[in-house]
Symmetry: C2
DNA sequence: CAGAATCCTTAGTGATACTG
DNA sequence: CAGTATCACTAAGGATTCTG
């Protein structure tokens, strides 16, 4: 690595703190397809609760990953959209997806081997 | 994105499930420098508890990111080392580190702006 | 040295009910 | 529609003690 270890650690930790939770990533993926309204997201992101969608969007908005636009209609209509920063992050995440796809078999095999050799543990 | 959304979501989620916790990343970064013994890691990874180091290493071992070698000395000596899979993951993580470094300013600015406009909330 | 076992606290999350 | 407010729960992590 070119940077120092602590630098790398901190840098990546910051990203993970931002996207490492349960719902930020699925929301990013959904928004990558284009702007979405609140209810659309709720339906599009499978399994998310209304509360967690709100919290996740607020956090993303705070970090500048998402822009929130309120249209003064009745009833209110709110649109969420990835910012350029959010889009650039999405692209980096594809590298991660690529790695996962490439190494899935290896990891699965490793886990199977582990279970064989450690029949006692629950993981 | 070239793959489907659910594919991407699942792929990245798998990675995040593996490295998104509090300690896997710092341990990877430490091990990237070379093989380490248990106590070395405990000292090298700042703030980690003995328990969490054990749990983290077990998980990484199970997933094939780390190889554990026991030397039958007295007292026992155990060496941990990144596998090729673990090394390849480290490299992907640099892309993430790169993104973080590039966008840190933007994110910090966004948070400052957020705090100005939302003096009430605690985040 | 390299752990295992136990207890405890808290943050993250889910479910539910209510509102402008 | 787009949220907010509460409550309850669980799992991750920390502190401590013990051991081959």
């Amino acid at each position: 690595m070119s940077a120092t270890n602590t630098e790398v650690t901190c840098d990546v930790r910051e990203v993970l703190d931002r996207i490492g939770d349960r719902w930020t990533l699925p929301v990013i993926v959904e928004l990558f397809q284009g702007p979405r309204r609140f209810r659309q997201l709720e339906r599009g992101v499978e399994g998310i609760s209304q509360r967690m969608l709100t919290l996740t969007l607020r956090k993303m908005e705070r970090d500048g990953l998402v822009e929130r636009t309120v249209y003064p209609t009745v009833p209110a209509q709110v649109e969420y959209e990835l910012t350029p920063t959010g889009r650039s992050l999405s692209e980096v995440l594809q590298a991660l997806a690529g790695w996962a796809a490439e190494h899935r078999e290896v990891v699965i095999a490793s886990r199977a081997r582990w279970r064989e050799q450690h029949p006692d543990t629950r993981s």
